[in-house]
């Protein structure tokens, strides 16, 4: 059982290895014109060439590095921020003090932020700060943080009424000590488990932004932009320019789901296995 759960993370680990060693795997520079345009897959170009003559295989492999790095940054950012905000809101919102009112207000703001379509947020942020990995990661983190906040807050509300917290208070611990030492470890599990979903969504939304033409600047090998350019070519038979990046996108998201079980295993301890 244990082995099965950890084995589920192997595909994702392989993807990470591909991302790390991408420059060694790519047969050509993914941002240089290396052959004739729209050449079908062949021994020289395994996935063919695109409309400018760049090697599709090299670009798909390079895309792993960009999309996985972006996904990991977004997952880390949104989970850490989500935990912090969720803890603050959850611990303070029932208090009659100003801090409590601020917590309740912040909770409503989180609900409002959830109502804004993710792609619109992405387009606005990229429009304001430019299309680069940092601004795209911030945009995606902004989009995905509310979910992490909500999960953490709900868990904090449940945990904070547990008897051991009362015992901690009676033992003289200060509120921030209680929050960090006892509430955080017991309330972080849902957000951490959800981080694999955050990763998958961030990769898909990043690709959607690229597809809409507001992603990273060309000729950066980003899957969404590659699919966008390839879809039109496919209408008259040039299928390879869109298919391979689309498959890579699906594989990356599916592999991320395998990590979910491992995270659950880690956060809940061995006895659940």
């Amino acid at each position: 059982m244990k082995k099965t759960i950890y084995a589920a993370a192997i595909p994702f680990a392989v993807l990470l290895l591909i991302a790390i060693f991408a420059p060694l795997i790519e047969p050509y520079n993914p941002e240089k014109v290396v052959g004739l345009s729209t050449q079908a897959p062949s021994a020289a170009h395994l996935f063919g060439t695109d409309s400018t003559g760049m090697d599709v295989f090299s670009r798909v492999v390079a895309g792993f590095r960009i999309d996985l790095v972006m996904g990991l940054i977004v997952t880390l950012l949104s989970t850490v921020i989500g935990l912090v905000i969720g803890l603050i809101i959850g611990m303070g919102e029932s208090s009659p003090s100003v801090a409590g009112a601020a917590g309740r207000g912040a909770n409503r703001l989180i609900d409002l932020a959830d109502a804004i379509p993710p792609l619109i947020v992405g387009i606005v942020v990229v429009g304001l700060f430019g299309a680069n990995i940092v601004s795209l990661s911030i945009a995606l983190a902004f989009i995905l943080t509310p979910t992490q906040v909500r999960l953490t807050r709900a868990e904090v509300l449940r945990v904070r009424s547990d008897a051991y917290l009362e015992a901690a208070r009676m033992a003289g611990l200060r509120p921030w000590q209680i929050t960090l030492r006892h509430v955080l470890p017991n309330a972080c599990r849902p957000a951490i488990e959800n981080s694999s979903l955050v990763f998958g969504v961030s990769v898909v939304v990043a690709a959607a932004l690229g597809f809409l033409g507001v992603g990273l600047v060309p000729p950066t090998p980003e899957w969404g932009a590659m699919i966008s350019k390839g879809v039109s070519d496919a209408m008259l038979g040039t299928w390879w320019t869109a298919l391979f990046p689309a498959v890579a996108l699906c594989v990356a998201v599916a592999c991320a789901s395998g990590v979910s079980g491992v995270l659950t295993r880690v956060t809940r301890g061995h006895s659940l296995a």
């Binding site: 547990d162 209408m235 079980g261």
Partner: protein, 573 residues
């Protein structure tokens, strides 16, 4: 037991997540994939609609269906709407008409025609006379000519049309350099109007402007009916209503962003168009538009990519037109009001770092022709032989950069519009090849609106776009894009000693009574030589027309604004 060790008990109250979560993630991935495909399927769904309905309309010889990338946002085009897109040009060409026009002559592709830019024939006017000094053009209107709604057109309409243009804030009057507008028009009688010029050499360009988008004549009676105190020339009303033009068609219905139907104008100056109804269907995706023509679902398609045109060239069902002298061109403008292109040597280096041949073969699939200068090579008494030319030569480029004080190369940003996919590809090629010549290029992909702003205020370092001279005379080609004094129509903001020489050479050419004379031709060649040496713009290649059509369509017209004149089209027979 510490609170941390109580976790398993707490955990048991939660649902077992693994399988459900995996399903959830896959669902999200599928939703994402669906969202991606939905973004592109707008065109596909439209196309299936067009496919089913046009099979009936397309088979009729009186009606044709055209797949277009977009509809014109304004029916008033370059005048009231200030619209400079192909869609607007097509509205101008089909809904409106000028006093004269360029005659059509047989084109390179069988069954097609092109404009003869050295000649003019009557259109709304029945005839015209030119005074002996070449300064007064007197036009005689077709007696009893009516507008699309049936109002008789007189010389008063001609004068009022120019009043309207001159009072439209979005209209570029500067093109009419030696013509002062409505004040220079005299109404002699109801069918006769005289236009006064200040330079005889401007005459050829003057006729060219009258024949094109800038010179159309309107039904003043109808427009005045829809004028208001705030809008005395009905500029707002005319944006979405037709009937006030004198062209071969009027708009009978339109659904924004989806479809527009044009119906033949029974009062048209040249009789009745062969095709009675044109349905313009919006199909967002270029590949889908190409596919629709190939399957016979539509008769014509516009905005087809060179890659798709190359594939369709072998189709038994589709004609891909080519012309001897394409007018639209890929233009790499180097903005000279800031570094690094304020240095002539750097500009010349960039001209040697541009992969002309590769762009022509890779991006345009050889459906483009290398350009030398921007004057149409078919211009009478003008030749490009002896003019400076550039070819891809990274060694020469590096040497020039070193001579300019940049031995380690130069970095700059190249702006391109997201609306021109071929030029995004061209920009990628330029970046890739120019790197070997010492240029480190960052491509800035901008929306069409943002790009238009970048171009007009010259805020970028370099831009790549499709350009064309609406009027194919040497005067128009040389003066329109290189005006000094920070003129917004000069995207390179080229203004130095070379530009002064260029302007004085143009003045010498225009001083000739006939701008197409042998003497004038020599001056045009001198001006182009100065332009090419200074290199504020790199004329990469002139591009073949972007339309395709079914084999049974004849009469395709290649015009200076790249729009189709539907009145000349016929299907079958």
């Amino acid at each position: 037991m510490s609170p941390r060790s109580s976790l398993p008990d707490v955990g048991r109250r939660l649902p077992r997540p693994t399988r459900r979560r995996v399903v959830g993630i896959i669902a999200v991935a599928l939703a994402g994939a669906l969202a991606l495909s939905a973004c592109s399927s707008a065109g596909t769904s439209t196309s299936s609609a067009s496919s089913s309905s046009s099979s009936s309309s397309g088979s009729s010889k009186a009606d044709i269906t055209v797949a277009v990338p977009a509809l014109a946002p304004s029916l008033d085009g370059v005048v009231g709407g200030g619209c400079l897109t192909l869609e607007c040009f097509e509205m101008n060409a089909n809904l409106q008409a000028g006093l004269v026009r360029n005659p059509y002559v047989a084109g390179t592709t069988k069954g097609t025609v092109v404009q003869d830019f050295n000649k003019y024939v009557p259109y709304v006017a029945k005839s015209w006379d030119v005074s002996s000094d070449g300064l007064t053009y007197t036009f005689h209107l077709r007696p009893g000519l009516k507008s699309q709604v049936g109002n008789v057109i007189t010389a008063d309409d001609v004068k009022w049309s120019f009043e309207r243009k001159w009072n439209s804030p979005l209209y570029a009057k500067s093109s009419w350099a030696s013509f002062a507008g409505p004040d220079a028009i005299t109404v002699i009688d109801k069918d006769t109007a005289a236009f006064k010029l200040t330079s005889a050499g401007f005459g050829q360009t003057f006729l060219g402007l009258l024949a094109n988008l800038q010179g159309h004549i309107y039904d003043s009676t109808l427009l005045k009916q829809h004028a208001t105190a705030d809008d005395p020339y009905a500029l707002n009303w005319a944006k979405s209503n037709s009937g006030w033009g004198l062209g071969p068609y009027e708009v009978s219905s339109q659904t924004p962003d989806q479809q527009m139907v044009l119906t033949a104008n029974k009062n048209w100056a040249l009789g009745t168009p062969k095709t009675k109804q044109i349905t313009l269907r919006v199909v967002a995706d270029a590949g889908t538009r190409a596919s629709l023509v190939n399957t016979g679902a539509v008769d014509m398609a516009e905005g087809i990519t060179p890659n798709d045109q190359a594939k369709l060239a072998n189709s038994a069902a589709v004609t891909v037109p080519s012309v001897a002298n394409p007018i639209e061109y890929a233009d790499l403008t180097l903005v000279t009001n800031k570094a690094p292109f304020d240095n002539e040597k750097v500009r010349q280096a960039m001209a040697y770092a541009t992969p002309y041949g590769q762009i022509i073969s890779q991006i345009y699939q050889k459906r483009a022709v290398k350009m030398v200068g921007n004057i149409n090579p078919s211009t009478k008494n003008y030749s490009t032989k002896g003019l400076p030319t550039y070819s891809y030569d990274p060694k020469k480029a590096k040497a020039l950069l070193a001579a300019a004080g940049f031995p380690n190369g130069v970095s700059f940003t190249l702006s391109v519009s997201t609306a021109t996919s071929d030029l995004i590809d061209a920009a990628v090629l330029v970046k890739s090849y120019a790197a070997d010549a010492g240029f480190n290029i960052t491509i800035d992909q901008e929306t069409a609106t943002a790009f238009s702003q970048t171009r007009s205020v010259a805020s970028g370092q370099a831009i790549i776009y499709r350009n064309r001279a609406q009027v194919q005379t040497p005067t128009y080609a040389t003066t329109t894009f290189f005006k000094p004094n920070n003129d917004p129509s000069n995207p390179s903001r080229w203004q130095d000693a070379d530009n002064t020489t260029f302007q004085s050479t143009i003045a010498a050419a225009q001083a000739q009574k006939d701008p197409l004379s042998v003497e004038a031709g020599k001056e045009w060649e001198k001006a182009e030589s100065t332009l090419l040496t200074s290199t504020p713009e790199i004329f990469i290649a002139s591009i073949q027309p972007s339309q395709v059509y079914a084999k049974d369509v004849t009469g395709y017209t290649y015009r200076s604004e790249n729009a189709i004149d539907f009145s000349n089209i016929s299907v079958g027979g």
